[in-house]
């Protein structure tokens, strides 16, 4: 195991596109995409020595990325809670109807979801990329492999207004 996994992950979130699968593999976690039961988006298993993340290959690229990030967060934050039977996630279909199997709790799931969002669309990477992509929402979203709607929500939660940022940039350019 690395001396500081979190620092390693943090380093890999500096610029888009975010290679979640690459991070998973570099952390020594096995990764696989394969068809899973309907409604199941991913799972993480521990066989006593190795961890393995499996993502439903029937889902879209965006959802697969999110699921991979979610499972990676479970590995980083909750792996002491994972037992040998593994943990299964239903992230997109009817969320909240069925709680996760113990000892993982709904708060752990919410934590993994939030951090998965931060991992897929890190603040610093967005701030860098929006300049390169000329403050174009669609282009920025494409760089992070998410929909423009999802990126819009993310920008809102970060308090970033693209029009405002663009006008600020233009003012600076004029001054210069």
């Amino acid at each position: 195991m690395r001396e500081s996994e979190l620092s390693f992950v943090d380093e890999r979130l500096k610029s888009a596109p975010i290679d979640v699968v690459g991070i998973i593999k570099e952390l020594g976690v096995k990764y696989e995409e394969s068809p899973l039961a309907p409604g199941v988006d991913g799972r993480i298993d521990f066989d006593g020595s190795d961890y393995k993340i499996t993502v439903n290959s029937e889902q879209s690229q965006q959802r697969r990325n999110f699921t991979a990030a979610h499972e990676l967060e479970h590995y980083l934050l909750h792996r002491d809670l994972l037992e040998e039977r593994g943990h299964l996630d239903r992230l997109f279909d009817a969320p909240g109807r069925q709680g996760p199997a113990k000892p993982i709790s709904p708060s752990h799931e919410a934590q993994a979801n939030k951090l998965a969002v931060q991992m897929l669309m890190p603040r610093q990477a967005i701030l860098n990329e929006m300049v390169w992509q000329d403050y174009d929402l669609a282009k920025i979203a494409r760089m992070f492999v998410v929909s423009p709607e999802a990126m819009e929500i993310r920008l809102k939660t970060l308090g970033i207004d693209l029009n405002h940022e663009r006008s600020q940039k233009q003012k600076q350019a004029v001054r210069a």
Partner: protein, 153 residues
């Protein structure tokens, strides 16, 4: 071996030694009347003499005693060997269990501690990755719109 057994066997040996000593001193190995009869007899081969003076009975008795002693020694020997084997196994098991427990505990700490520390950090004021904290509803909303616009699989 237990101290009580040691004392018991010591006592038994002393009694046995006294018994044997008194037996040797008082025992008439050959009855004089039998010996006189034998001298008068014309048929005096070795076997006949041994039978007449009771030597074969004596050998039989010694063999029987030897058998009994061997049997007793086997029983007590077995008990002793079993007790020692159990003691040795217990000591070895404690040593090995201690080593394995230490190694397993170290491995579990190596596996679990980073996750526990990170989780605790997130639940407190310290944060990593980024400084903002989106609400649960924002996160759910974003998740539902991740692939809106229909990017292909």
């Amino acid at each position: 071996m237990r101290r009580g057994w040691v004392v018991f066997f010591l006592g038994l040996h002393i009694v046995t030694a006294i018994f044997l000593l008194s037996l040797i001193l008082d025992f008439h190995f050959v009855d004089p009347s039998l010996l006189n009869d034998l001298r008068k007899s014309s048929d005096r081969d070795v076997l006949n003499v041994a039978v007449q003076i009771g030597r074969l009975d004596f050998v039989s008795a010694i063999l029987a005693m030897f058998g009994i002693l061997t049997g007793l020694a086997a029983i007590f020997g077995f008990i002793e060997v079993r007790n020692r084997a159990e003691d040795r196994a217990r000591i070895t098991a404690i040593e090995i269990a201690g080593k394995i427990a230490r190694s397993e505990a170290r491995e579990e700490v190596r596996r679990s501690l980073p996750a526990i520390v990170a989780r605790e950090m997130l639940s407190g004021r310290a944060k990593f990755f980024s400084e903002e904290s989106a609400s649960d509803s924002d996160t759910q909303n974003l998740m539902s719109k991740l692939d809106e616009g229909g990017e292909s699989k």
